[in-house]
Symmetry: C2
Subunit: 332 residues, 2 copies
């Protein structure tokens, strides 16, 4: 292999993301300098935050540059190494983006033990999405046993972990997901106490039945109407971990009827980005890794095949078409 | 005086409050039991929170009962006492509501020193509104010197104190108020660094000029469009003390364009009710009282004359017609 493929951002989306915003390129495999290593990526992660990076607006991170490789987490195998810390054949997690290969001096790479946890899980429950769930639940919601925790996008990479961790802490875990298949999975496979199908048209009533004692902790991934309905059922001193706002990523204004509850229920809300809390990753990953290895933390993946499927995978994710963690597999 | 007047809630408002929601009654002055004292109220406080109490909805407090005296803070003079802890002629703060007199066993009454602070100020900067400002600023926003603090309803009883306390802590204090007179007062009399007139139709641009380095702390009293504009200028890790939502008290839904910033700027927001933090009142009132006595904390009052003016005073307050702390004077 003397060349490999990568996908760059060709243009910024106006409203919805389209395949034309991306461009596939073929580039030469570089010659390694001393200290460098070459990774062949096996999976790349497709995450909602990528949508925000595509815009040129003030946010927590610099916008994704035009003509640069799309950002993203990856897991892969070291196939060549001039770095004594990494051997050929080892597996590593990195941030090589939408690319079949990546070159690194080792900074920020994490060596992965695939003997008990599958490689791809390091992009999901044992990686950034799992840590996102762990951080928001334990550091912001900090639920007590017996409390009710609600999470939107409950069948997704983050939401599925939130509810399972909440159950393990003795909470009532209520999911919100789109469609009966996802809701069934959330309850029957993941073990949530209940799941509300926001597409069923009875959001407020269904949420009332699913969380009869009100909501003490809300892990918010979606925003918009679903968020508003949850706001309306929050208990006094409830905590809201604001993790994502998929519904607002494409620029729509939001009509909220229950903003008043932030005041009358004395709620706390905090937006967070898990990469700003690296000090807690060892603690969180230790818990998540142990649960995964013991089979106590379940997850599901949507796997698209081949680098060129990445744009459609992201577009589908933003429409809720994925079921579980969205990945792109780069090996055959 | 063998009788006195009081105002009861006659009916709950549908949308806007109207004078017909209230009823003036004349009742006999009661004969005191052992341990009781009789207070002649000199001033009663008119506050935005009263609007929420008038509705029969789940909130932080029980709804105001129909046919019961309207709730509210009062200051007055002890005119008769069977209680050894209170002497005739002493001044006290209590919660006797919209009433010319009040009977108490002394529970919850606060004896007032009027030698250096005027009696009415104990309903404003030296009372609940001042404590509200102090709590939200020091316990939620917790600003560092050099940061920018923005407060809406800046000429009001709470907002005026927020900005002055922020200035004393070395912050840039920016007010938002309605109309050039209030804005001039906020800057020239209260000493804020800038004040934005939200009625001038250039809210976003004016806020940008008034807070050129962005907003680190937001003390929110109003909600709605003003809140949304401030959200759009928040700096990373900004703190929002949610104290009031006057614009949402009458039930309107709110269209927010900048909800996304709660996430992208990793903001913290907390709704609070100052009466739930009584442990901090001694500390806060000590600071406020000292500043007032030294003339370092300025305030302004809108005083309506006579109990029967209370309903219109509340209606005006909800429309922003007051200028400073809204009071009703019950003595001639």
């Amino acid at each position: 292999m003397s060349t490999y493929q990568q996908i760059v951002l060709a243009s910024r989306p106006q409203g919805h993301v389209s395949p034309g915003n991306f461009r596939l390129e073929r580039v030469p495999v570089p010659v390694l300098q001393p200290g460098q290593l070459l990774v062949r990526n096996h999976y790349l992660s497709v995450d909602p935050y990528m949508r925000m990076r595509m815009e040129d607006v003030k946010s927590y991170a610099e916008p994704q540059a035009i003509n640069a490789v799309m950002v993203g987490g990856t897991v892969g195998e070291v196939i060549e190494s001039n770095n004594p810390r990494f051997k050929v054949g080892e597996f590593v997690a990195g941030g090589f983006g939408w690319s079949e290969m990546g070159v690194s001096d080792g900074t920020g790479l994490r060596r992965l033990d695939t003997s008990r946890i599958p490689l791809s899980a390091y992009l999901g429950a044992a990686g950034m999405p799992g840590m996102t769930a762990w951080y928001g639940l334990t550091q912001i919601i900090a639920p007590k046993a017996g409390e009710t925790v609600v999470v939107s996008a409950a069948s997704g990479a983050v939401g599925s972990v939130v509810g399972q961790l909440a159950r393990l802490r003795g909470c009532r875990a209520v999911g919100i997901a789109g469609g009966p298949d996802k809701c069934r999975y959330v309850v029957e496979e993941l073990g949530f106490d209940a799941c509300v199908d926001y597409k069923a048209g009875r959001l407020v009533q269904d949420l009332q039945e699913a969380a009869p004692a009100g909501i003490d902790g809300l892990f918010e991934n979606v925003g918009g109407e679903v968020f508003d309905a949850c706001l309306g059922r929050m208990n006094p001193f409830g905590r809201i971990a604001l993790c994502g706002l998929i519904s607002a990523y494409e620029g729509e204004a939001v009509m909220l009827r229950n903003v008043r509850n932030l005041l009358t229920m004395r709620l706390s809300l905090r937006g967070f980005i898990v990469s700003e809390h690296m000090d807690l990753w060892p603690q969180g990953l230790a818990e998540l890794g142990a649960l995964l290895a013991e089979g106590k933390l379940k997850y599901r993946e949507s796997v698209a095949q081949g680098l060129r499927s990445a744009p459609e995978a992201l577009i589908g994710l933003l429409r809720g078409k994925n079921f579980g963690k969205q990945l792109v597999r780069l090996i055959d």
